[in-house]
Subunit: 408 residues, 2 copies
């Protein structure tokens, strides 16, 4: 089989961790697998390099930023290759520009356009492990680029697609995807299998295990992903298509995000084009809007509420206030909120999830400020200080609590 | 004018030092010069990366070592470019493989074969400063290589040759080349001008300011080098051809090296081919021999003495003992020695330098164990504990002492 093994920053944080990651590669090689290894920068290195750039100016040139920051993964790729050779595994590192992994020109957040797999396949067929630094690529003009935060996951999945790998293993510092954040919900359970769609919702709703773009890519090309721990043995969590997840729970997990801020326009004139005008302005300011809620109109005016990332709240407020096409009576902002979401493909065919959710929250006297739903999730915005209570009570209400503590 | 400015590791040790190096570049740009900047890794980074590799095995793959270690200069090149832009100087970093700087395949000690200057000239002509990471290149097969220790000096001089630069400035943490090590000889003087030949002898005899290969290259293509301090203003030391050094001192400096060990073969059979046999064996062991002295023969046998680096003493001894073609009565080894040298193009035409040297040493009761001469230097091997005394007395004997302390 062809497989991709990706090791995150904490999994390659120092020489002994790189060595132990290399033994995981070795055991796959010994099973007869052809292996591509994708590595992140050693934990802390990327932040160090970014802060160097920022010490000059927050406005530094992103072409040069990419030259600086991509060095982190480059270092790990050479070290991982040395670690493998030290275990008598033939290996070779191939940098983004050497493969090449071609991207567009968007420095610091490039998108992969194509991967030339010829060099990789040549080395794999020679029985060598190919070690690739994650997070980096090269433009047609041979400029170094990086793929943005979490980009090493993208590199791993894109390589898996490129060589038609049988699966892609993502090694990290947790042993899988959990029904909720185990630091908040003590009874959180590791999920054995989850669909791409659910994982996507979980990731975009705040679960930090996997990067959204990498899950999308894996889903598109149906590459099974496994989230595994570098520091313990265990089956991890398999992320795959719905057909393969036989035993579906109605709800697979409870996600949350503290990075929420709410803007409400009170008594906006209610006529066609108003919402379009507001969100056009916001997109011109490059502000990502998450939840949007508009109440039914009374007396020709309505209230419009939307949420943005906390750090974009003030620029979002500016953007809206600079839009002279629309009028409102009051503009309210609130960043003391959090978003709690219930996720599960099971709810597609199952009424009552929203009801169960709202009832559980009501019993804890938690007020719901905004509601937003999709086919496989229900999200609510609540006061930030209720976050933990909300997660714990929903986790229990949907039967996600671990039955035996001994299984932990 | 076209110039190359090279900044060593201590000159780019942190962000504020990179910023201050960038202001030195800016002032050259403002004079109307086209500037190529060559940077080393931030002080300590290369050693850190090398030690990572060595933690796996001292025998690690040098191809991967180069991938790891070259990242240090890559980081500085991006940061220097950002620093320049922050000072409103247009700049672009070009890595070894982007230029490309083509080398042979000798990983970790590659030699530059050719530099394609088209990209560099294009950017210079657009009014941009080109920032190049030192110490790195690329093979014809697009493998990353490094040039070995001190390789950033080579990069700087090779680039100066490639674009036919008017001069090449080497910024470092000392303000020039001194007549002797200022830590040992308090009255050591900065040399204003020195010939390539003298600088070569000084470098190969232990002066650590410049790397021998880079001086050779500058001499071959007659590129004037200046050694300057990053941390103070001043004219530094100009290294140039003999014609330009008008006011020649007989002796320009006193160099010394503690990295010496001596092997003596007592009563070797004295017949043709003996020396050839011994040094053939040593070269097969890759041992560099420095001084070689053979005394005149008495009764058909002679004493042969040579010196090697301290860390090669034991393998040199092994090598000689494994040579079964030759016989001797006793093999003596001694690593408690140092080499002190008097260097100067002036001595070519000036008798009496050796005499002055031996007399000065004799007056201090310093015994000379081995003598070796070339056209522009006389070296002696002495007991290590006399090193400082020897340097100080020779410095005075050749009139190199600074007259006024106030000029320091």
């Amino acid at each position: 089989m062809k497989i991709v093994q990706k090791f995150g920053g904490t999994s390659v944080a120092d020489i002994s961790k790189i060595r132990s990651a290399a033994t995981r590669v070795k055991s796959e090689v010994e099973k007869g697998n052809q292996v591509i290894v994708v590595v992140s920068a050693m934990a802390g290195v990327t932040n160090q390099l970014i802060s160097y750039c920022q010490e000059f100016s927050s406005n530094h040139n992103m072409r040069e930023y990419d030259v600086v920051v991509s060095a982190g993964e480059q270092i790990t790729s050479g070290l991982m290759s040395i670690a493998l050779q030290d275990l008598n595994i033939s290996s070779v590192s191939l940098l983004g520009w050497q493969i090449p992994i071609f991207t567009n020109d968007a420095h610091a957040k490039a998108l992969i356009n194509s991967i030339d797999n010829a060099k990789i396949l040549k080395h794999l067929d020679k029985g060598e492990v190919v070690v690739v630094p994650g997070f980096q690529g090269v433009t047609k003009n041979r400029e170094i680029v990086t793929l943005g935060r979490g980009g090493s996951d993208i590199t791993a999945v894109a390589l898996a697609v490129s060589v038609d790998a049988d699966y892609c293993d993502i090694y990290t510092d947790v042993d899988g995807v959990y029904t909720s954040d185990p630091r908040i919900v003590k009874k959180a359970k590791k999920i054995d299998k989850i669909t791409y769609e659910e994982m996507l919702e979980m990731a975009s709703l705040g679960a930090k295990v996997l990067q959204t773009r990498s899950v999308e890519l894996a889903m598109k090309f149906d590459i099974p992903l496994r989230v595994l721990s570098s520091f313990s043995d265990g089956p991890g969590t398999l992320i795959c298509s719905e057909e393969e997840v036989v035993e579906k729970e109605v709800v697979s997990g409870i996600a949350h995000s503290m990075d929420e801020a709410k803007i409400t326009l009170v008594s906006v004139e209610d006529r066609p084009g108003i919402a379009a005008s507001i969100f056009h302005t916001l997109s011109e300011y490059n502000i990502n809007v998450d939840m949007i809620v508009q109440n039914v109109s009374e007396d020709g005016s309505t209230d419009l509420t939307f949420t943005v990332s906390k750090h974009e709240l003030l620029s979002a407020k500016d953007a809206v206030e600079n839009n002279k096409e629309i009028k409102w009576r009051k503009l309210l902002i609130d960043d003391d909120v959090s978003k709690v979401s219930v996720v599960g493909v099971g709810m597609k065919s199952h009424a009552g999830v929203a009801m169960t959710m709202f009832k559980a929250l009501a019993e804890k006297n938690i007020n719901i400020e905004v509601i937003s739903t999709s086919e496989i999730k229900v999200s609510v915005l609540i006061k930030a200080n209720f976050t933990q209570d909300a997660i714990v009570c929903l986790h229990e209400a949907f039967g996600l609590d671990q039955v035996e503590d001994s299984s932990q």
